[in-house]
């Protein structure tokens, strides 16, 4: 009985077997990808869709026919919230503008170090990423005060006037540059390290100086890396919470601290959702703009 079935299976068509093989080859990768994709859909895409729907609902502060854009209309018509949006973009933009060139030069110089020092340098960049912003911002809160070890002695000697940095945009930007720097340098280091060494030799053999190496090889070939690095810088700065909360305070509210205020202080999840969507839109628009800007130079 069992023999006959197995015989049948053996006789039974090569077609069958190959169909089964094709089934498994085609489906195994999908099954393997399923956990990640399902997790992302259930815990990221779906919740984000819920945020968008929530932002269209009336709430304790505003009444309108649901679904409607009343929350957005409210926030975009108040100068206070407009200032928050503009500040968020400005802080992230200045952070990127200062952080990117600093990081680029650092990445080039790290690549030129000999191997042992290069490894130490790269480790020195992984370490602050793993430390996380909370411990670092705590350091800044003490470091940037007028009585702190950095400015305290100088102010006492009358070398500089009291700076009152805490609670200003400058303090937030300083700490954000420190925060994005490791990410930017690591991204740009990867880009710089992929440039073929022969290109530099070609430029020097043609009589080019260091500067022309940079202008004709390093810079153009790093453009994709610079694109990614500026997107990373801007996104990290615009979405940072700890720095603007502690170093900017109530006077320097950004979209992220506004979201937490809506949830933790005024319990308005609809306005929080609208602020979250505005933040995502701001980031998306900027990423598209940055990409378009760099595409002009990337051939």
């Amino acid at each position: 009985m069992s023999t006959s079935t197995s015989d049948q299976a053996a006789l039974g068509t090569a077609d069958h077997a190959s169909a089964r093989a094709r089934f498994s080859v085609r489906h195994i990768p999908l099954i393997l990808l399923a956990p990640s994709i399902v997790l992302l859909f259930v815990f990221l895409v779906l919740p984000l869709a819920i945020i968008v729907l929530t932002s269209l609902q009336p709430n304790v502060l505003l009444t309108f026919d649901a679904p409607g854009i009343g929350n957005y209309g409210y926030m975009l018509s108040k100068s206070y919230y407009l200032a928050v949006i503009v500040r968020t973009v400005r802080i992230a933009f200045v952070t990127t503008l200062i952080g990117l060139p600093i990081s680029f030069l650092a990445a080039i110089l790290i690549y030129r170090l000999d191997e042992r020092f290069r490894n130490i340098a790269l480790m020195g960049l992984t370490f602050p990423v793993l430390t996380g912003p909370l411990a670092i911002v705590l350091g800044y809160m003490a470091l940037l005060t007028d009585g702190g070890p950095l400015f305290g002695p100088m102010i006492e000697l009358g070398l500089i006037p009291p700076l009152k940095l805490l609670g200003t945009e400058t303090a937030v930007i300083i700490s954000l540059i420190q925060f994005v720097l490791p990410f930017a340098v690591l991204t740009l280091y990867t880009a710089v390290s992929r440039i073929p060494q022969q290109l530099y030799e070609a430029v020097t053999s043609l009589g080019g100086a260091r500067m022309s190496c940079f202008l004709h090889v390093t810079l153009p070939l790093s453009l994709p890396g610079l694109l990614s690095a500026s997107i990373i810088c801007f996104s990290l700065a615009a979405s940072s919470y700890v720095s603007p909360y502690y170093l900017g305070g109530a006077a320097q509210q950004t979209l992220t601290t506004l979201i937490s205020q809506f949830i933790l202080a005024t319990y308005n999840s609809q306005l929080a959702a609208a602020a979250a969507v505005l933040l995502l839109v701001v980031m998306l628009v900027t990423i598209v703009a940055i990409t378009a800007f760099f595409r002009k130079f990337i051939r």
Partner: protein, 262 residues
């Protein structure tokens, strides 16, 4: 002469950059060992009493335990899912592997506070409130791209023919995995786990809306504490975290020879 001068200028530049990056971290560490009651304070004597003071605060100890549990679970979920995805992306050719990889790393671009808010609203919609499972889920999603990146790097150094060799020598698919593929990937898997663990362990914005007093994490408790005051004890706590990050970085380099890049 000018070459030496410019390389000296380069070193000076790098030293400045690293001083800038390390300054707030070093300052916290110094303050944690300083025997003064205020913060920041001029240097007095060396002391370990602020570290001892942490042990008298059950709130911090409970929160630290919650954070460890949360980070371990999030890292396990993220690494398992990423391992399977990375294997699929490496083993099979796709029409658009980049599109799939981009989708899988998309959580990197979503602000963490928005992820936390989104998860809160999903939980409220389902009538779950602030529960631990939601916290694990959102942390796992957040660390997944980092895990995926490190595991994909491991696969990219792997030779597909090794797996075929194992199978042609008569090993089954599972046995090949267990005896060939997995051991070769072990350093990257361990690195991915450590990375995911640390990133989850120190994260504040993801957890802010999702914790309640019984599931408070170390960063949320520190956040609440800093709101009322800053003292050397909180610097000591931050120093413990800094030490953990330093140890992880060194361990990854020394034993696993794995970095984010390079």
């Amino acid at each position: 002469m000018s070459a030496r001068l410019s390389s000296l200028a380069g070193l000076l530049y790098l030293a400045t950059i690293y001083l800038f990056v390390m300054a707030p971290i070093l300052f916290i560490v110094v303050m944690a060992f300083n025997d003064a009651t205020s913060f920041p304070a001029p240097l007095e004597a060396f002391t370990l009493r602020w570290f001892a003071a942490i042990l008298d605060q059950p709130v911090f100890l409970d929160a630290a335990w919650t954070s460890v549990l949360l980070a371990v679970l999030a890292a396990i979920v993220a690494c398992c899912a990423s391992f399977l995805s990375a294997y699929a992306l490496w083993r099979w050719t796709w029409r658009s592997p980049d599109a799939i990889a981009t989708f899988l790393t998309s959580p990197l671009l979503v602000p963490q506070i928005v992820m936390g808010l989104a998860m809160l609203q999903l939980a409220e919609l389902l009538g779950l409130g602030t529960n631990f499972a939601g916290l694990v889920a959102v942390h796992a999603i957040y660390v997944m791209p980092f895990g995926l990146r490190l595991i994909m790097t491991g696969f990219s150094h792997l030779d597909l023919s090794l797996e075929e060799a194992g199978q042609s020598l008569g090993a089954g698919r599972l046995q090949t995995w267990r005896e060939v593929t997995l051991p070769l990937l072990r350093p990257n898997l361990v690195a991915a786990f450590c990375f995911c663990f640390m990133l989850s362990f120190v994260n504040l914005p993801l957890s802010m809306f999702l914790t309640n007093p019984s599931t408070a994490t170390l960063p949320t408790v520190m956040f609440a504490y800093i709101e009322s005051r800053i003292d050397p004890m909180i610097a000591a706590l931050a120093t413990v975290i800094i030490g953990l990050a330093a140890f992880t970085t060194l361990a990854l380099e020394k034993w696993l020879k794995i970095r984010l890049v390079g």
